[in-house]
Amino acid sequence: MNALEAVADTADGSTVLIGGFGPAGEPVQLIEALLDSGAKELTVVSNNAGSGETGIAALIREKRVVKIVCSYPRQVDSRHFDEAYRAGRIELDLVPQGNLAERIRAGGAGIGAFFTPTGYGTMLAEGKETRVIDGKGYVLEYPIKGDLALVRAHRADRFGNLVYRKTGRNFGPIMAAAATTTVVQVEELGEIDPEHVVTPSIYVDRIVHIGRAA
């Protein structure tokens, strides 16, 4: 299966979870394929809002993204996001990074909502339910799920188990578990020791062998 085939059925209006933290674990070829698929009116959930001309930045430049849920949209070269945001063409839901991770984890884990201390008493908790538990303030946060997850892993075995490389792991395992369809680009195919599996095959729907990203 090639990258375009793997994402070709993405419906307009889908919520897409996109892994990666900066360049580490960024599924570049899958994002390009999503652009080629023509899918539009997307909600993108990712730590960043793209930089330069590739990846999420290209999706935004081509006006495919109506909303982004992220922790850190501002980057050295996030001009396409900046422009769309200032023009009012893209909605921004800013989420503290750990709440973003925990909400995605909750989405995959069947948790209905959870109380987190992060953001309590700040403007990012405005309008949200709060509660003091054992003397400490918490904000109630809800799970995030995706119709599609795009993830980059290091290796897949023939069953769909995955391992990652170094800090390229980041959002991959939790996004793979939180989406209806999970597409993974891998650098290599091979064997994985059952003790070393990071993402079990149950969370993986489609694998695209791309090789090592440039």
């Binding site: 933290f21 900066g22 360049p23 580490a24 674990g25 922790s71 850190y72 949209p73 501002r74 996001f81 900046d82 945001y85 200032r86 921004l92 800013l94 989420v95 503290p96 990074q97 750990g98 709440n99 991770a101 925990e102 995605i104 984890r105 987190t116 201390p117 992060t118 953001g119 309590y120 008493g121 700040t122 403007m123 990012l124 303030g137 990652y164 490389r165 170094k166 800090t167 390229g168 792991r169 980041n170 959002f171 991959g172 395992p173 939790i174 990071v198 990203a213």
Partner: protein, 211 residues
């Protein structure tokens, strides 16, 4: 007044041997250069690693091995990798001994403002700032005590949007080191300034530490 490097050295000297530490982006990163090699201090980076080593250069650069500031780094013996939810669980769960952060403002109660300038046209970006503020056993702030135009950054109340409430335990500045305590703001070290002169710069009542 002490320079940036001396300040980083001062913070490094206060980190206990064997501590698990997260150094925020920017000035706090420089603390790593002053940790004794045998200190056993283990650095956490919130994008999924314990045992982070110094910045990578040349052939050591690996774009799958970066820190929270997206700078290529290296791996030290004893390192481990984990996903983002596990990494922030480690932080939120109070397992890190110390987190060192920069700040726009700190209040006398230890409220922190370090993520948003408050400018109405700014594009907001929070990253892990709010998680770092609430998670570690101790939060150290490193900053200049005054803004470029001479306004104090240690204040009765923060005027910038908050990052976290009552989370800062110490404030290391170019002019003095402050301990945020139940009884008020205690001055621990003075860097070439008299206590009375320091007090005259700030609207926060200061307590002189007896030593």
């Amino acid at each position: 007044m002490i320079d940036r490097q001396t300040l980083a050295k001062l913070v490094a000297a206060d980190i206990p041997a064997g501590a698990f530490v997260n150094l925020g982006i920017g000035q706090p990163t420089e603390v790593a250069d002053h940790l004794a090699p045998d200190s056993g201090v283990v650095l956490h980076t919130e994008n999924g690693m314990l045992g982070m080593g110094p910045q990578a250069h040349g052939d050591d650069v690996d774009l799958d091995l970066i820190n929270a500031g997206k700078i290529p780094v290296t791996e030290l013996p004893g390192a481990s990798y984990f996903h983002h939810a596990d990494s922030f669980a480690m932080m939120r769960g109070g397992h890190l001994d110390v987190c060192v952060l920069g700040a726009y403002q700190v209040s006398a109660r230890g409220d922190l403002a370090n993520w948003h300038s408050g400018a109405p046209d700014a594009i907001p970006a929070v990253g892990g700032a709010m998680d770092l503020a609430v998670g570690a056993k101790q939060v150290f702030v490193m900053m200049n005590l005054l803004t470029r135009d001479g306004k104090p950054k240690l204040l009765p109340e923060c005027t910038y949007p908050l990052t976290g409430l009552r989370c800062v335990s110490r404030v290391y500045t170019d002019l003095a080191t402050f301990l945020i305590t139940e009884n008020g703001v205690v001055v621990r070290d003075l860097h070439g300034i008299a206590f009375a002169d320091l007090q005259s710069l700030l609207d926060v009542p200061l307590i002189e530490e007896l030593s």
